[in-house]
């Protein structure tokens, strides 16, 4: 396994992402194994069998790693903005209760998983967010902006998702979104259309 491994296509069951084996410090994103493998890791370097990040990471054998990769279709290469946002998500795993000084709970595994789904879709569609942050409303906020047009997607700890689109000085159109992949894809497509409307 060498060179730049292309990002695997989105797969909700496995949530497998890509990595850059030539540089653990740049372009690295989260990497989770499928349910076929019990152990998960982040920032794994198959050449050294060591986990690059996350104290919770557990290295796996090269054989298991290669088998996981071989089972997936190959997508296009990771763009740097994708890895940056995945790293921000990874950093949120370390947040604790009262992370903001106002007793807000941190994003939990449910919100992180939904946000990962969203980032996968955004990467596959080339729709780059403006900001990604923990929400004081117990979840994760992903925001978009282009020429006075805004869109927001919030992934909550209880699994709910809400979206909003609005102009800078107009009332927002807010809706509740189902958390299935298809429903999220549809709302992201609508947000993309809104943001870049001429």
């Amino acid at each position: 396994m060498n060179g730049n491994l292309a990002l695997n296509l989105y797969d909700k069951e496995s949530l497998t992402y890509g990595y850059d084996s030539n540089s653990l410090n740049e372009g690295i994103v989260l990497f989770e194994l499928t349910e076929d493998f019990e152990r998960v890791y982040t920032g794994f370097n198959p050449n050294t069998s060591s986990a690059a990040t996350s104290s919770a990471a557990t290295p796996i054998s090269n054989e298991d790693f290669n088998q996981a990769i071989a089972q997936r279709k190959i997508g296009r290469n990771i763009e740097s903005w994708v890895s940056v946002f995945f790293q921000q998500l990874d950093n949120m795993r370390d947040l604790e209760n009262n992370w903001d000084g106002y007793d807000s709970p941190p994003p939990n595994a449910t919100a992180l998983r939904t946000a990962q789904d969203v980032l996968n879709i955004l990467h596959n569609t080339g729709f780059k967010p403006s900001t990604l942050s923990a929400s004081v409303e117990a979840g994760i906020t992903i925001s978009f902006y282009h020429e006075k047009r805004y869109a927001v997607l919030e992934c909550y700890n209880d699994g709910d998702v809400c979206s909003a689109t609005y102009l800078s000085d107009s009332p927002p159109e807010v809706r509740e979104v189902g958390n299935s992949v298809n429903e999220i894809k549809e709302v992201i497509e609508n947000m993309n259309t809104f943001i870049y409307a001429s």
Binding site: Y102, S133, Y150, V152, C162, V174, E176
Partner: protein
């Protein structure tokens, strides 16, 4: 190293003064922006904290320990209120002077309905709408570093 705060910020035994004019400026601090507006994620609903201008200078909202953050201004009349809901009386968002020992000007935007305070609102659409509409009203004075 502790950050000194001005003597005038301390409460010094002063009582709350809930006599807000609609024109009074309120100061809010934030860590991120999206486009030219305050990022939505950190805005709370209800109970967003602000400093009221009647008893503070604008930059005090970054004290202590948030000097690298940004801050902005909006007026009491800019608070999004009332907000209708499917069941029950609308939510009224009211600025309330809530002094702290080291910040006399501390205030909160609290939610009430039919005179009853709501410290938690379950309806995520209402909360997101409020947070966005508040963000739209903030005039940014200083961007985050």
């Amino acid at each position: 190293m502790p950050v000194d705060i001005p003597d005038e910020m301390h409460r010094r035994g002063r009582s709350p003064q809930n006599n807000f004019s609609l024109e009074e400026d309120l100061y809010i601090r934030f860590e991120k922006v999206t486009g030219d507006q305050v990022a939505i994620g950190p805005i709370r609903c209800p109970d967003q904290s602000v400093n009221r201008s009647r008893y503070s200078e604008p930059g005090w909202v970054l004290l202590p320990g948030h000097s690298h953050w940004g801050f902005g201004t909006f007026k009491v009349q800019d608070i999004p209120t009332p907000m209708e809901r499917d069941a029950g009386d609308p939510y009224e968002f009211i600025i309330t002077h809530d002094p702290e020992e080291e910040n006399y000007s501390h205030s909160e935007i609290r939610a009430f309905s039919n005179g009853t305070r709501f410290e938690k609102i379950k309806n995520k659409k209402i909360k997101l709408t409020f947070r966005i509409q508040l963000s739209q009203k903030v005039q940014i004075n200083k961007l985050p570093d």
